[in-house]
């Protein structure tokens, strides 16, 4: 099963890189911008145009209501007084706007601190994942020592182990890490280090490196580049796309992470938003809680809107998986 998976990923990751130019030429030649199921002839028919137009408007409406709706509601609740939220949630500010909620959320509930924790945790997790995946992929794909095959199998094997199995023993490992002697509990390392053990990232990187032209490596070696030089000056610069993909995944995964930080970061000061917010639920005024939730959502959304392209390209896996 693994060979099938890796082989399809191998051949098709190559496709976008190598095939992009001929494909674009072909498309330009057909004067057909991104044709899909419908051809130019299809679009010329009135029934298709109105039909699809209608469907698209409907789709847009549905997306706005469903995708945007709850988020807009959250924004509204963030500045609504609690009693209004409870009694008339869908009415538009019957008793005025409570800007106070935002103030209280930022200062009293100290969203700023938990937000900072979230960012720090994401940054460290990202660094950890990039570091392990890049060096690991490099070894497996470029350097290929004798033990590469074995390493590869052991890494792939972990793909099939559900995270749940690791939960308890990893917790105990954090309590009592080998060599270190002191517990890593309530330190960010407890989240950063295990994040690096992502087989998915290593496989992605290794496959990408596999598709880099070998001639460039040979040329560099002939020029006297050692493995470090090769890595830093040749391989990495050529890997920007895949680094982008891995980064997007890493940041998103870290932001979403709930159970693991819940277990290892029991000190409120260190907790990221995902862990802190539920525990504040009972002791925080509903309006202020909504404001806190809204603030916590704002940054990821802004981040997403600014870096749309990278997100969506990474999320689509670059079209890497096909039939």
């Amino acid at each position: 099963m693994t060979t099938t998976q890796t082989s399809t990923m191998q051949t098709t990751t190559a496709a976008p890189a190598g095939a992009a130019r001929p494909l674009a030429r072909r498309r330009a030649a057909a004067m057909d911008t991104l044709r899909g199921v419908l051809s130019i002839a299809d679009w010329r028919r009135r029934s298709v145009r109105t039909g699809m137009g209608f469907v698209h408007v409907l789709l847009l409406l549905v997306l706005v209501v469903i995708g945007l709706g709850p988020i807009l509601l959250l924004g509204k609740f963030a500045i609504t007084p609690t009693q209004d939220i409870l009694r008339a949630p869908l009415e538009v500010f019957p008793n005025g706007i409570a800007w106070d909620n935002l103030h209280k959320a930022w200062f009293d509930v100290q969203i700023s601190r938990y937000f900072l924790n979230t960012v720090l945790i994401a940054a460290g997790a990202w660094a950890s994942q990039i570091f392990v995946a890049a060096t690991g992929g490099y070894v497996l794909s470029v350097l290929r020592p004798r033990y590469a095959k074995a390493l590869q199998w052991m890494v792939l094997a972990t793909l099939f182990v559900p995270g749940v199995v690791l939960l308890v023993p990893l917790y105990l490992t954090i309590l009592n890490p080998p060599i270190l002697g002191t517990s890593l509990l309530n330190t960010f390392w407890a989240v950063w280090l295990p994040a690096g053990a992502s087989a998915f990232n290593v496989v992605l990187m290794a496959r990408f490196f596999d598709n880099l032209p070998r001639e460039i490596f040979e040329a560099a070696r002939v020029d006297g580049a050692g493995p470090f030089r090769l890595f830093w000056s040749v391989v990495l610069p050529m890997s920007k796309p895949i680094l982008g993909v891995v980064s997007v995944f890493a940041v998103i995964a870290s932001w979403k992470d709930f159970l693991w930080p819940l277990l290892v970061l029991t000190k409120p000061d260190l907790q990221p938003l995902s862990v802190r917010l539920p525990s504040l639920q009972a002791t925080t005024d509903l309006g202020v809680l909504m404001a806190a939730l809204a603030i916590s959502t704002l940054i990821p959304i802004l981040f997403f809107l600014v870096f749309q392209r990278m997100f969506l390209r990474g999320a689509g896996l670059g079209g890497a998986i096909k039939g």
């Binding site: 309590l175 029991t266 409120p268």
Partner: protein, 483 residues
Amino acid sequence: MRSLTKPTTAVLAASAVAIGLLSACSGASPEAPETSPDDTTSTTDEATSDTPQDVTLRVVSLLPGSDQAAFDAFDERVTQFEALYPHIDVEAEEYEWKATTFAAQLAGGTLPDVYEIPFTDAKTLIENGQLADVDAQFHDLPYSGDFNEALLEAGKGPDGHVYAIPAKSIYGVALHYNRALFDAAGLDPDDPPTTWAEVRSAAKQIKDATGVAGYAQMAADNTGGWQLTSATYTRGGRTQVAEADGTYTATLTNPGTKAALEFLKALRWEDDSLYADATLNWGTVNEKFAAGQIGMYTSGSDVYTALAESFGVTPDSSGLKVADYGLTAIPNEGTDSGVLVGGTLAAVNIRADDAVKDAAIKWIDFFYLQPHLDEGPAVENAQVRFDNGQPVGTPVLPIFSREQYETSLGWIEQFINVPLENMTGYTDVMFDQPVVGEPSASTQEIYALLDVPVQAVMTDQNADIDALLEQAQTQAQSLLDEG
């Protein structure tokens, strides 16, 4: 090269597994030091030195998210303590005892040096060797003989040593109500219900007149079982019987429990006066009550302190105001009925060395106990709380004796800012009510089991109460048998 990779693979794989096995074996050995409760040669009897060494003491402060003013009051007390004992540096942490997170904290060793546990957990923790033996330091206290023996018993180990000290919130379960809602519904706030039938009709009246749920019941995180047990006691039932031979028998199918569940069922499905949220726990039911969404509910008699410190009950809050809070005795019906009592003990972390244990006892003495015993500290404590707008004078059951308690109230009379006049329903009878301790075996686990019937009754109109109780009974009995 093929022939070389095969053994390499095998070797690598084997060594990885071997390393895994080795580390698992070594890591599986006990984390905690080897002291056990029966170790009478422990080092606690070493004489404390005359020049105290500097010690950092980690203690628990308040619930997460409590008011800043509450934290300020706490910090002032810490400063006073550190002035008294300059060699002790106190570090405070927010803390909430929740059945689901306590285990992780315990295992993770992240509990502070002094922390709070409910009565129900003490015996098991002592048996597991997770509490420090503080017997020697305890007996150094001049008033060690004045404790209410029944309370002290909860914190003693099988060797008779003291491991945890009764510290605060000794409560009897009582009925809390919203006076403003009573008014709005045409009920007399000074004449709260005294029987369960009256509670039911009052709840219905509140719901019909104001649309607000008249009654609420905790149902999750073991609190459902806790309150169900309390409701059972008030109807003359018991959930557990201690046999002569030291074993325990679960008695969950008794008429009291059944009546309690039928009460909930009627309120929920016939009267529609029950707050329809089966995820309520101790914290969220307080939150809803403080937001003015609940007419009545049962919880520990001292909950007012938390309501004011952490859940936003102030003289002018938009939800429940201070003046709207009412407290009365929980209805007791039938023979053998009683009020469930419990409380909080202060325990010392097993990893504490002697210096820390000394400091810990001094903190427990200063923060939890002195205000009950000496006028000076009582006034100091009350003053700090009063100045920071924190509740002073919430009725609690006495840790020492009734006389001592009443004397201490007299010292701080000028600072009392809780609406005692609205609590007479409870305070008039609090010392006369028959009290029943929480069940002693597998308490929290059986509470967890009992959450299920409570949630089922609240969410399923056709819940079969007998079947639910039978199921809980079987599971509880097997727990008791193996425990």
